[in-house]
C-alpha cells in the first residue's frame, strides 16, 4: 500500500450538487460582506453567537481532531500499522482548520482586523488562546502537508512553456526544503499534538465565562476537559467516516483492517468522556434538569444517546468488521460530538433576558452548508492531485 493520487473522474452527479450548494452559500456570503451580519443572520444583541461559531468554528475544530489523534498514534507512538490513515487525516485537519479560520473571518464584524490578536494580547481571554493556537496549528498543518507536495513534484516539475526555465531551480528548491523538513518534522508533529490539546480544551473554556447565561446541563468548570476528551473521541470516527465515504466514492476497497482496529479503540475514549460527564452531572446535581423534558433536556438526551449507542456498537466485533456497521457507528459519534458543540454554543446559551429564541436563518445555514460543500470539493481535488490516499500497487498500475 502506497499513497498515490487517485485516478477518477472529478465531476459526478454528486459533485455537481455540491457545487450548486457551494454557489448558494457564496451568494449569501457576498450579502454578508456587502450588507453586514444582520442582513444574513438571525443574530441580535441577545444572541451574539450562532450557527457560524457553534458549527463552523467549534464543531469544525472538533471534527478536525482526527489530524492530531492519528499523528499521535502513527508518528508519536510509531504504530506503523496506521500510517495509511495519517495522510487523509492530515488533509482533513488542514482543510478543516482552514474552514474554521475562514468561518471566524466571516463571523467577526471587523474582519479586516483579524490580525489584531497577533499583536494585541490578552492572556486572560480563552478566545485569545483559541485564536493564537488555531493560527499556529494551522501553520503547522501546512508544514506537515508540505512533504506531500514535494513528493508530488520532485523530479516531475513540468511547467508550461514560458515558465519552463523555472523547472530546474524549483525542483532544486523543493529537494532542499524536503531534506530540511524531513530532519525537523518531528518538532512540528509534536507541536501539532500539543497545540491541539491546548486549543481543543480552551474551546471548552470559552463558554465558562458565560456563567449563568448557560444552561446548567452544560455549564461546568470541567468543560475544557470534556471538550478535549470528546475531541479525541471523535478523531478516529471522523477518519473512519470519511475513509469509507472516499473509498465508496472512488470505488476502492475500504481499508477495513486498519479501520476496524481504529474503531475498536473508540469505545475506550467514549467511556472516559461519559464517565466524566456523568460524574459531573451527579456531583452538581444537574441531572434534575434532564427530568424537566424541555427542549434543552431533549437535546441533551439526544446528544448522550448519539454517543452511548456507538459505544455499545463498537464493542461488537461483528459491527467493527463490517464496513456498514463501522460507518453507522462512526457516523453516530460524529453526529454526537457535532450536536454536543451545537448544544454548548447555541442551545445552552439561554440568557436571562431572551425574548426571541435564536434559530439560524436560511442565509446562515446556506453559508455553513456551502462552506462544507467547498471543503469536500477541495478534499476531492487534492486527493486526485497529491499522493494522499494509500492504494494497492496493482490498483494504481491498473488505473494508469
Amino acid at each position: 500500500m502506497i499513497p498515490a493520487p487517485v485516478k477518477h473522474k472529478f465531476l459526478t452527479p454528486g459533485v455537481i450538487i455540491l457545487i450548486v450548494i457551494a454557489v448558494n452559500g457564496l451568494a449569501f456570503l457576498a450579502m454578508r460582506f456587502i450588507y453586514g451580519i444582520g442582513a444574513v443572520t438571525n443574530l441580535d444583541n441577545v444572541t451574539p453567537w450562532g450557527l457560524w461559531i457553534g458549527v463552523d468554528v467549534a464543531a469544525g475544530v472538533a471534527l478536525a481532531a482526527g489530524g492530531f489523534t492519528s499523528a499521535a498514534l502513527g508518528h508519536v507512538m510509531h504504530r506503523e500499522h496506521y500510517h495509511d490513515i495519517i495522510r487523509p487525516a492530515l488533509l482533513t485537519a488542514m482543510l478543516g482548520y482552514t474552514f474554521v479560520a475562514f468561518a471566524v473571518f466571516v463571523d467577526i464584524g471587523r474582519w479586516y482586523f483579524i490580525w489584531h490578536p497577533l499583536v494585541m494580547w490578552n492572556g486572560n481571554s480563552a478566545l485569545f488562546e483559541v485564536g493564537i493556537c488555531v493560527m499556529i496549528y494551522m501553520t503547522v498543518l501546512y508544514i506537515e502537508f508540505f512533504p506531500i507536495v514535494t513528493e508530488r513534484f520532485i523530479g516531475r516539475m513540468n511547467l508550461p512553456r514560458p515558465f519552463g526555465f523555472l523547472n530546474k531551480p524549483v525542483d532544486r528548491m523543493l529537494r532542499y526544503l524536503d531534506s530540511r523538513l524531513s530532519i525537523s518534522m518531528f518538532v512540528f508533529i509534536i507541536a501539532g499534538v500539543v497545540l491541539s490539546t491546548l486549543h481543543q480544551s480552551s474551546l471548552g473554556t470559552l463558554m465558562v465565562i458565560a456563567g449563568q447565561k448557560m444552561h446548567p446541563l452544560w455549564q461546568t468548570p470541567i468543560l475544557p476537559l470534556l471538550f478535549l476528551l470528546s475531541a479525541i473521541a471523535v478523531g478516529f470516527p471522523m477518519v473512519i467516516f470519511e475513509s469509507l465515504i472516499a473509498s465508496r466514492s472512488f470505488k476502492m476497497k475500504p481499508e477495513m483492517e486498519i479501520l476496524s482496529r481504529l474503531g475498536r479503540m473508540v469505545p475506550v475514549i467514549i467511556a472516559i468522556y461519559l464517565a466524566f460527564k456523568v460524574t459531573d452531572l451527579v456531583i452538581r446535581e444537574t441531572f434534575k434538569y434532564v427530568m424537566v423534558f424541555d427542549t434543552a433536556a431533549w437535546m441533551f438526551i439526544a446528544e448522550m444517546m448519539l454517543l452511548i449507542i456507538p459505544f455499545f456498537m463498537l464493542l461488537i466485533r461483528k459491527v467493527t468488521n463490517s464496513a456498514l456497521g463501522l460507518f453507522i457507528a462512526a457516523g453516530f459519534v460524529v453526529a454526537g460530538v457535532l450536536l454536543n458543540r451545537i448544544n454548548n454554543f447555541i442551545v445552552a446559551y439561554q440568557p436571562y433576558y431572551d425574548p426571541v429564541k435564536y434559530i439560524p436563518s436560511f442565509g446562515e445555514i446556506s453559508v455553513t452548508v456551502g462552506c462544507i460543500a467547498l471543503l469536500v470539493l477541495a478534499y476531492r481535488a487534492i486527493v486526485m492531485i497529491f499522493p494522499v490516499i494509500s492504494q494497492k500497487r496493482s490498483e494504481i498500475i491498473k488505473k494508469i
Binding site: T41, G109, N122, N124, S125, L127, F186, I209, Y353
Partner: protein
C-alpha cells in the same frame, strides 16, 4: 437563565476553585485592587419618575441621533420592555407597583461598570479596560467585532451594529468618558436627573447613602442593594421597593463573573509549564517508540522492508 439558582452556581464555583488549585498562577488583569475613591452611582428606583431625560441627555452626550426633549414625555414607549441598543446606551422601563398602583416603579438600565468585569477578561484583543475611576471603557480601534464581550457580560449590556457591513461598533455606556475628560464632573444622565434618583459620588459614600435610605424607610425598600455584591460588585447600584427579579434585573451569583474562566485559563497555562511538559513527554515517547521500532527492525530480516512504509 430561568431555573438556575445561586446554590448551583456556588457549587460550580467550588469545583472551579479545585481546578484552579492545579495551576498556581493567579489571574492578573481583572484582579487588581481597585482604588477606594472610585465612582459609585445609586439608582433609587423609588425616586425615579420615568421622565426619561437621562435617555435624552445620554444620546446627546454621545452624538447619537436625538429626538426633541418634548418627545420623551410620550409614555407609550413603556408598554414594551426595552433594552439598550446601538442607538441608546441607557433606557428606562416602567414596572407595576403592587403597593401603590398609582406610583409605578421606573428603572434605568445601562452598563453596570462591574468591579470585576467579564468583558475585560474576555476581550480577545484586550480592548476593554477597567479604569481607576471605576468605569469600564474600550478602545474601538482594537476591536475585531467578535462579540465575545456580549457572550461574557452577565448583564447582557454590550450591543453591536448588526446592520453595518464596514466599521460596526460595540457600544455601551462609557460613563461619559469624553464628557468627564472635558471637565464636567457628572455623567450626562446624572447631571440632568431632575429628581435626585441618580446619586453620584465615591462608591463608599454612595453605598452609605443607599444603606441609610433603606434603614430610614424599611417599608418602602427591600433590604437589598443590587450591585453591592452581585458579580463581585458594580459601579452602578440599585435600591428598590420590590424584588429585583420583578424589575427584570438578573439574579446573579456573588462571584466575580470572569473568576472561574480565568482560573482555568491560567491553570492550563501556568507559566507555560503544562504545555512544555506535554511537549517533552510526547518527545520522549516518540523517541522511545522509534528506538523500539528500530531495534525490532534490526532483528527482522529485510523481508518486510519491501512492504514497509516511508519512514
Amino acid at each position: 437563565m430561568k431555573n438556575i439558582n445561586r446554590r448551583d452556581f456556588l457549587k460550580t464555583t467550588a469545583a472551579g476553585v479545585s481546578i484552579c488549585a492545579l495551576g498556581t498562577a493567579t489571574a492578573k488583569g481583572t484582579d487588581k485592587t481597585l482604588p477606594e475613591d472610585r465612582i459609585g452611582i445609586l439608582v433609587d428606583t423609588d425616586a425615579c419618575v420615568g421622565c426619561r431625560h437621562c435617555e435624552w441627555a445620554c444620546r446627546k452626550a454621545h452624538d447619537l441621533p436625538t429626538p426633541e426633549l418634548d418627545a420623551y414625555s410620550d409614555e407609550s414607549v413603556f408598554r414594551e420592555y426595552r433594552r439598550p441598543d446601538a442607538g441608546s446606551y441607557t433606557v428606562v422601563n416602567k414596572f407595576e407597583n403592587e403597593k401603590n398602583p398609582l406610583l409605578p416603579v421606573h428603572a434605568k438600565i445601562q452598563c453596570m461598570h462591574c468591579d470585576r468585569p467579564a468583558c475585560v477578561s474576555a476581550c480577545i484583543v484586550g480592548a476593554f479596560t477597567k479604569n481607576d475611576d471605576g468605569s469600564v471603557t474600550w478602545d474601538t480601534g482594537k476591536c475585531i467585532g467578535c462579540r465575545y464581550c456580549m457572550v461574557a457580560c452577565p448583564f447582557q449590556i454590550p450591543t453591536y451594529d448588526y446592520d453595518r457591513a464596514i466599521d460596526p461598533l460595540i457600544r455601551k455606556c462609557d460613563l461619559c468618558e469624553d464628557r468627564r475628560k472635558g471637565g464636567e464632573k457628572l455623567p450626562a444622565c446624572v447631571a440632568i436627573c431632575p429628581n435626585e434618583a441618580l446619586i453620584f459620588g465615591k462608591k463608599g459614600d454612595v453605598l452609605q447613602i443607599a444603606k441609610k435610605r433603606i434603614k430610614r424607610n424599611p417599608d418602602t425598600y427591600v433590604n437589598h442593594i443590587y450591585g453591592e455584591h452581585e458579580v463581585g460588585g458594580t459601579t452602578w447600584m440599585y435600591i428598590a421597593g420590590k424584588d429585583f427579579g420583578k424589575l427584570k434585573m438578573p439574579p446573579l451569583s456573588l462571584n466575580p463573573a470572569p473568576g472561574i474562566s480565568e482560573s482555568i485559563q491560567h491553570g492550563i497555562f501556568a507559566y507555560f509549564v503544562p504545555p512544555v511538559t506535554i511537549y517533552a513527554l510526547l518527545g520522549l515517547m516518540m523517541w522511545v517508540t522509534k528506538k523500539r521500532k528500530n531495534d525490532k527492525q534490526e532483528k527482522i530480516s529485510s523481508e518486510n522492508e519491501k512492504e514497509g512504509g516511508e519512514s
